[in-house]
C-alpha cells in the first residue's frame, strides 16, 4: 500500500541522457502501465524505481520518503522479470521462500505465506518442482508468487508476458489485473504492447525517447492524445496523419482538400484521423484509392492512398466488405469532433473548441 512519486527523474549512461526528466504521481493501489516502443527508456525507468540503476538526477519517493539511495531490498518493492529470473536449482517452494528466508522470517511463517500464495496462483501441485519442469505460464505464476509472498508496497513488472504465446498472454493479462485489484497493491507495469496497456492500466504513461509524452487513463489517451506520438502509438491500426494548414475551423491539406475541424488554432498543423472514425460517404472530402482490403471479420481494414496527394491512409470499416477490392476508389468523410489537430512545430495537441 503505497504511493510512488517521480520528480524530474533523469538517467544518463556514460554522459548520454536516456531519461529526460519524468514527473509522475502514482496513487495508492493504482495500476500504472508504462508503454512505449523499444528503446524508449521504459524499462530503465522501472529499474530506476526498483533501484537496480542509480538515479542520475531527480528523486523517487515511495510512500512519501525518498528512496534514491536505498538498495532494492530496502525499498519495499517486488519485481517480476521478463524472463522470470527463477533460480534454476531451487524448487518452486524455495524460489518463493527465498526472500523471506533472507529476511529471517520463521520457518512456519514462511510455509504459511508460500502456501497462501501458491493457492492464490493455483501452484499447490507444483511446489516441489524445479522451474525447468514448468511451462511458461506456470513459471510466470511462480515469478508472481515470489513477488506476492513478500507483501511489498509496490509491484514492478518488466514486460512479464512477452515470452508467452498469444493465448496465454490474454489469460495471464486478466489474471495479473485481477490479482492486482484483489490485493490492491500499487503496480508499475512496463510493456510495448498497447493492447496490454489499454486493457490493464488505470492510467498509462506513454513514453518516447526518454520523455513521458502523456500520462492519463487509457481512454483519455485514446480520445485526447496530448502529442502526435501518443496519438499514433495508441490505437490499432494507428492514426492517419496529414500535414495541413488550419484556419477558421477548417484544415486544408497540401492537396487542397478541406476538412472541417473543431479548432480555433490557426497555422501549420498535423491533423490526425483515426481509421475507425472515417466514414464512407459519397460526398466526403477525402478520396481514397484502395490497394488492399484486410477482412478481420468484425471489421475490414482498407489500406490505400489519398487520390489527391498519394499519402498512405488506412480506413477501418465495421463489418465485412468483400465487394471492396484492389484499385477501387471510395470517398470518406469524418466528423469535425473526431479530427485531432497537432501543432506542426511542437507536435502538441491543440485544444479543440469543444474542450
Amino acid at each position: 500500500m503505497a504511493t510512488v512519486e517521480l520528480i524530474d527523474v533523469r538517467k544518463s549512461f556514460s554522459g548520454t541522457e536516456v531519461i529526460h526528466g519524468i514527473d509522475a504521481q502514482i496513487e495508492d493501489g493504482e495500476f500504472i502501465v508504462i508503454v512505449g516502443p523499444s528503446g524508449c527508456g521504459k524499462s530503465t525507468l522501472l529499474r530506476l524505481v526498483a533501484g537496480l540503476e542509480t538515479i542520475s538526477q531527480g528523486e523517487v519517493h515511495i510512500n512519501g520518503s525518498r528512496v534514491n539511495d536505498l538498495e532494492p531490498m530496502d525499498r519495499d518493492i517486488a519485481m517480476v522479470f521478463q524472463n522470470y529470473a527463477l533460480y534454476p536449482h531451487m524448487s518452486v517452494r524455495q524460489n518463493m521462500a527465498y526472500s523471506l528466508k533472507i529476511a529471517g522470517v520463521s520457518r512456519p511463517e514462511i510455509n504459511k505465506k508460500v502456501e497462501e500464495a501458491a493457492e492464490l496462483l493455483e501452484l499447490q501441485d507444483y511446489l516441489n518442482r524445479k522451474p525447468k519442469q514448468l511451462s511458461g505460464g506456470q513459471r510466470q505464476r511462480v515469478a508472481m508468487g515470489r513477488a506476492i509472498v513478500r507483501e511489498p508496497s509496490v509491484f514492478l513488472f518488466d514486460e512479464p508476458l512477452s515470452n508467452l504465446d498469444a493465448k496465454l498472454r490474454v489469460q495471464m493479462r486478466l489474471e495479473i489485473k485481477e490479482l492486482q485489484t484483489r490485493l490492491g497493491i500499487t503496480s508499475l507495469y512496463v510493456t510495448h504492447d498497447q493492447v496490454e496497456a489499454m486493457t490493464m492500466a488505470d492510467r498509462m504513461i506513454v513514453m518516447n525517447e526518454g520523455v513521458a509524452e502523456q500520462i492519463g487513463t487509457p481512454l483519455e489517451v485514446y480520445q485526447k492524445p496530448h502529442t502526435l506520438f501518443a496519438a499514433q502509438f495508441i490505437g490499432s491500426p494507428s492514426m492517419n496523419a496529414f500535414d495541413a494548414t488550419v484556419k477558421g475551423g477548417e484544415a486544408v491539406l497540401e492537396s487542397g482538400v478541406r476538412i472541417r475541424c473543431n479548432c480555433s488554432f490557426e497555422g501549420e498543423a498535423v491533423i490526425g484521423l483515426r481509421p475507425e472514425h472515417l466514414i464512407a460517404d459519397e460526398n466526403g472530402p477525402l478520396r481514397v484509392n484502395i490497394h488492399l482490403a484486410e477482412p478481420l471479420g468484425a471489421n475490414t481494414l482498407l489500406h490505400g492512398r489519398l487520390s489527391q496527394s498519394r499519402d498512405p491512409v488506412i480506413v477501418s470499416m465495421a463489418g465485412v466488405h468483400s465487394a471492396l477490392g484492389t484499385e477501387q476508389n471510395m470517398r470518406v468523410s469524418i466528423s469535425p469532433d473526431n479530427v485531432h489537430v497537432f501543432d506542426k512545430a511542437t507536435s502538441q495537441r491543440v485544444a479543440s473548441l469543444k474542450a
Partner: protein, 286 residues
C-alpha cells in the same frame, strides 16, 4: 535407401562391426600393455624379472610384493607417500577451486577500479608454467620455512588462471536478471554467491575437481624440489626416488607395485565422478 541407412556409421553390422571392434581392441591393447606388464612385474619375484625372457603372466608373489611396498617400501612406506599425495592433490584441487570461484565472482559481479587490470594479470599468468617461476617460488617458500611441509607443497600451486577463467566464463552465462532478482529479494553479495552462484556451478566444480586432482596428483618437479625428508615424499616423485643410485639393483617388484598403487586414486576419482565430470564440461545447466 533403407540399406544405405543400415550401413551408415552408427549402425554398422557384419564385417564392418567386426572391423571396428578389431581396431578398438588393437588400440586398447597398445594402451593397456605397458600397464599389464607393470602389473605382471608386481606379482613375480625379482629373480623372475631380471632373467629373460620377461614373464607376461602374473606370478604368485602379488600379496607379498604389495605388502612390502605398502608397509616397508624402499625409502619410506608407500602408504605414507599415498597419504602425502592425497593430501597434496586434494589440497591443490580444493584450494584452486575456492580461490578461482571467489576471484571470478569478484571479477564478474563487482565494479572496482582496476578490475580489468586484475583480470588480465591473472590471465597472463596462464602463460607462465610452474617451471618458469620455480626458482623464485622456491626462494619464497624457503623463506617462509615451508620446505618439507604440506603447506609448502600446496600453497604455491593453488593460484589458477585457468580455473578463474573457466568460472568467469560460466558466470557470464548466468543471466543478469538472476543477480537482480536476488538483489530485489534482499540477498547481499555473499548470500547471492552461496545461495545462487555456488549451487549453479556445482557441475563445473566437479569437472574441475577431477582435472585439478589429477594435476595435483601428477606434480613431480615441485615436490622433488621442496621435499628432502622421505616422510614428505609424494608417490609420483617417490617412484623415481626408489631407483637406487650406483650399482645397487632396483627392487622391481616393489617399484612396479608402487606404480600400480599410484594409479589407483586418480582412476577412482575419474570413474566415480565421471557423470558429473562430463555434465560439467558439456552443459552449463542453466
Amino acid at each position: 535407401m533403407a540399406t544405405a541407412d543400415k550401413s551408415g556409421m552408427v549402425e554398422s553390422s557384419g564385417r564392418k562391426l567386426w572391423l571396428t571392434h578389431l581396431l578398438m581392441i588393437i588400440g586398447v591393447f597398445f594402451v593397456f600393455f605397458p600397464i599389464w606388464l607393470a602389473f605382471v612385474a608386481s606379482t613375480v619375484t625379482q629373480a623372475d624379472i631380471v632373467s629373460p625372457p620377461m614373464p607376461v603372466w602374473p606370478g604368485g608373489q602379488m600379496l607379498e610384493n604389495y605388502k612390502r611396498a605398502l608397509f616397508a617400501g624402499v625409502n619410506v612406506p608407500v602408504t605414507t607417500m599415498l597419504l602425502n599425495s592425497l593430501i597434496m592433490a586434494i589440497g591443490i584441487a580444493a584450494g584452486k577451486i575456492i580461490i578461482s570461484l571467489l576471484s571470478a565472482f569478484a571479477i564478474v559481479y563487482f565494479r572496482f577500479p582496476g578490475r580489468n587490470v586484475f583480470f588480465w594479470m591473472i590471465f597472463i599468468t596462464l602463460m607462465l608454467p610452474v617451471e618458469v617461476r620455480i626458482v623464485p617460488t622456491y626462494e619464497v617458500v624457503a623463506g617462509f620455512g615451508m620446505l618439507n611441509s604440506y603447506s609448502g607443497l600446496i600453497f604455491p600451486l593453488i593460484a589458477s588462471a585457468t580455473a578463474t577463467f573457466l568460472f568467469r566464463q560460466f558466470y557470464l552465462t548466468i543471466p543478469d536478471e538472476l543477480a537482480e532478482a536476488a538483489r530485489v529479494d534482499g540477498a547481499r553479495p555473499m548470500q547471492f554467491f552461496f545461495d545462487i552462484v555456488l549451487p549453479m556451478s556445482r557441475t563445473n566444480i566437479a569437472a574441475l575437481f577431477v582435472i585439478l586432482f589429477i594435476y595435483g596428483w601428477n606434480q613431480y618437479l615441485w615436490p622433488l624440489l621442496i621435499t628432502t625428508d622421505p616422510e614428505m615424499n609424494t608417490i609420483v616423485m617417490g617412484i623415481k626416488q626408489m631407483f637406487p643410485s650406483g650399482d645397487d639393483t632396483a627392487d622391481w617388484p616393489v617399484i612396479m607395485a608402487t606404480s600400480i598403487l599410484a594409479m589407483i586414486p586418480p582412476v577412482i576419482v575419474v570413474v566415480s565422478m565421471q557423470k558429473l565430470f562430463i555434465r560439467g564440461l558439456m552443459d552449463s545447466e542453466k
